[in-house]
């Protein structure tokens, strides 16, 4: 077996393990966590009947979605209607490809010395790739809202497109200030650059802007206007049922995971654990601890997403736009100027 074949196999294994196993399992865990944590916040029990402590609840939910009748209303634009769930789910899964979840490990496999990076694809323009792919997700919402041919859905789709485009700008500005300090667009470089000090300390303003924008990008409360239940019934996914509805759901959770992973990578040192090098652990152990650290950090932000959702009310549409354009955007620009000035000095 040649080295090339081996590398392809390793890449495939990584894709399957990370995207289909880790992400999907995390999605399932998140569905349960969301319900249990919200119950905990709200003084109730939450689902605890299916399996011990309700851990099989997400499977039951998934099965329910699979077995539900698939209703395609007569008044929809059939092609776009069927396309929308696919458009939204694919970019959601693709963005994670460049996020480094660990360092690298060099080992002999089948007689070859290979380096396995804990990252599906180590792109030189990693962060640009994420911004590019993530913005594709908005098409899913718009197309879904439009194809449903329903006034509420249309309003939801319109809102989401305006919201996501508006918040991509401050998000990009926050990323720029990080990239300026690192001097590289590779996410692995950004992580390595934080070995001395995490970006949350060096770039606190950028971190806040990025986190707020991430909430808006993932359509989570307080920015869940596209699906504001009380105003727009279900927003863009009102007319969807069965697994199509579930894929909108999955996309939301997957986006949450990616957003959390990005927050961690950009501002909280990624897989880096302070003072781990001084412990002189075996390489394998060190790698495992680093991956675990990444998982725990991401998990914390996922919890944070859920925590905020069940505490705050929802913004109004114009207030949301004001926050994006009048507060976050100038602050982002200011942050870049300050960063540039400090770096020049």
């Amino acid at each position: 077996m040649s080295v090339e074949t081996l590398n392809v196999i390793i890449a495939l294994v990584k894709i399957i393990l990370v995207v289909y196993v880790a992400m999907m399992v995390t999605d399932l865990i998140l569905i349960l966590a969301e319900r249990r944590i919200s119950a905990f916040i709200q003084d109730r029990l939450g689902p605890n009947r299916v399996g011990p402590q309700g851990i099989l609840q997400p499977l039951a939910d998934g099965l329910k979605f699979l077995l539900k009748e698939e209703v395609i209303p007569n008044h929809v634009d059939r092609f776009l209607y069927l396309l929308a769930p696919a458009i939204i789910l694919t970019p959601a899964l693709m963005t994670f490809a460049v996020v480094p979840f660990g360092d690298q490990i060099t080992t002999y496999i089948a007689g070859h010395l290979v380096t396995i990076r804990f990252q599906i694809a180590d792109l030189d323009v990693g962060i640009l790739y994420i911004v590019a792919i993530a913005s594709l997700g908005v098409y899913g919402l718009v197309v879904g809202g439009y194809a449903s041919n329903n006034k509420y859905s249309l309003l939801g789709g319109l809102r989401s497109s305006a919201q996501m485009i508006s918040y991509e700008l401050p998000m990009g500005l926050a990323i720029i200030s990080v990239v300026m300090m690192t001097g590289s667009l590779r996410l692995q470089d950004i992580v390595v650059d934080q070995f001395g000090m995490w970006n949350i300390i060096r770039q606190p303003l950028a971190a806040i802007i990025f986190i707020v924008a991430a909430f808006a990008e993932t359509n989570r409360l307080p920015f869940d206007l596209p699906e504001a239940e009380q105003e727009l019934v279900g927003g863009y996914h009102t007319e969807y049922s069965s697994m199509k509805f579930a894929s909108f759901f999955l996309a939301e959770y997957t986006n949450m995971i990616t957003a959390s992973a990005l927050i961690v990578t950009l501002f909280f040192g990624g897989w880096h654990v302070p003072f781990l090098h001084q412990a002189n652990l075996p390489v394998l152990w060190e790698q495992i601890i680093q991956i675990l650290a990444f998982v725990i950090k991401t998990g914390f932000f996922l919890f944070f997403f859920i925590w905020v959702r069940w505490t705050l009310p929802r913004f109004r549409y114009d207030q949301l736009m004001n926050l994006g354009w009048k507060a976050l955007l100038p602050l982002g620009l200011l942050n870049i100027v300050i960063t540039a000035a400090v770096m020049a000095l």
């Binding site: 919200s38 709200q42 509420y152 009380q230 505490t311 705050l312 009310p313």
Partner: protein, 398 residues
């Protein structure tokens, strides 16, 4: 040559808000004319839950109609029971015993708390704060347990009778109310913590759904909506009934006339209701709860079994087609229900049924100026304004 017009033509979108919509809490329908997301006109359509309660008043005897009063504003059924009983009693001209007055006052105020809990919960839910909803409903749950203990039903209480009450309160009633008074401030604190100074909540509610003092008076709105527009009118203070003239409480007023001021008024009313319950509970006298003349109220079981008069009164009150006659005349009596002035206009022709029974429901009147409040606001505000009015469809359509 005529200049061609380059203006883009825009059409107004008609959006049917309801009758099946998650934010309308019951079957309300509003036809919204939208320009983008701005409301140009809001036209409430009512009648989806019309149940003919008023007409039924002409076919049911007075005590029978009490069960129907439950179903008007089903969140404050005790207040409806009390309001109706007060009206009929005044028409006959009977004075209920002191103990009954105190119990009615306590229960009316506890109902106000329960109703306001539903209001604050659903209002917060409409604006997206789910957690406040469940905190509020937990408090309401305790109150409903209390109501169940008192009269055997949680929602449709039917607790009053003309001339008194269905029965006296249970022995541990006072302890339960005291426990609740100790428990409730904590809920109130949590709700204040979640909402009152929350920046998003304030942004969503301040300056939204403005109703001026003049408009409020002209439209005849009452209750927290009127007081939120800066008019200190409260039936309990202006036309005292039961024992309200002996109690020390304040009428909270807020001048801003927006959703936030209605919110603040209602939140303060909760505190005042607690004060009223506390005072009334302290002075709760012993004695009978029913009017002494058993022509109007059911006699005790011993009298029914042992005396001929008791037996006759019992059957007169119970048997279909009988019941007491109410002297000829008409009367309008209003009480302060949680949503505002709940009035009953009763015309009697001297028989055991009303000739005409007209209800002045606070929801109906408060809802009538909905268009004034939402015009020029956004779609999201429609939900906030609707929440602040606390429209109950059962009462709206009767």
């Amino acid at each position: 040559m005529a200049q061609p017009s380059y203006e883009i033509k825009t059409d107004q979108m008609i959006l049917n808000f309801g009758p099946q919509h998650p934010a309308t809490h019951g079957t309300l329908r509003i036809v919204l004319e939208l320009d983008g997301e701005v409301v140009k006109k809001a036209e409430p359509h009512i009648g989806y839950l019309h149940s003919g309660f008023e007409k039924l008043g002409e076919y049911k005897t007075y005590n029978q109609w009490i069960t129907l009063s439950d179903r008007m504003n089903y969140l404050s059924s005790l207040a409806n029971n009390i309001g109706f009983a007060e009206a009929v009693e005044q028409l006959i001209g009977i004075e209920i015993p002191e103990r009954a007055k105190y119990i009615r006052t306590i229960l009316a105020e506890l109902t106000r708390i329960a109703d306001h809990m539903v209001w604050v919960g659903t209002h917060a839910l409409d604006i997206g704060a789910f957690t406040a909803f469940l905190y509020a409903f937990e408090a309401r749950e305790h109150l409903y347990n209390l109501f169940e203990h008192v009269c055997g039903a949680r929602l449709t209480t039917s607790y009053t009778r003309i001339g008194g009450l269905m029965r006296d309160v249970p022995e541990d009633f006072e302890d339960m109310v005291k426990w609740f008074l100790g428990y409730f401030p904590n809920t109130l604190k949590e709700l204040h913590g979640l909402l009152t100074r929350n920046r998003i909540w304030m942004d969503r509610t301040r300056g939204v759904g403005y109703l001026s003092r003049e408009d409020a008076i002209n439209c005849g709105v009452t209750g927290p909506v009127l007081r939120g527009s800066g008019v200190a009118y409260d039936v309990r203070r202006n036309f005292p009934y039961l024992i309200y003239d002996r109690l020390d409480f304040e009428i909270p007023v807020c001048d801003d006339g927006d959703v936030y001021s209605r919110y603040l008024v209602r939140m303060e009313e909760l505190v005042q209701s607690m004060r009223i319950v506390e005072q009334a509970l302290k002075d709760l006298p012993d004695g009978p709860v029913n009017y002494f003349d058993h022509k109007y109220t059911l006699p005790e079981k011993e009298k029914v079994y042992d005396t001929i008069e008791g037996l006759i009164h019992h059957f007169k009150n119970i048997m279909p087609g009988h019941g007491f006659n109410v002297p000829e005349g008409d009367i309008y009596v209003a009480t302060e229900a949680p949503n505002g002035e709940l009035g009953f206009y009763i015309v009697s022709d001297g028989t055991n049924k009303a000739y005409r029974l007209r209800v002045r429901p606070p929801s109906f009147v408060n809802y009538s100026c909905f268009d004034k409040m939402v015009r020029g606001n956004l779609v999201a505000d429609v939900v906030a304004v609707l929440g602040s009015l606390n429209i109950i469809a059962g009462e709206l359509d009767r």
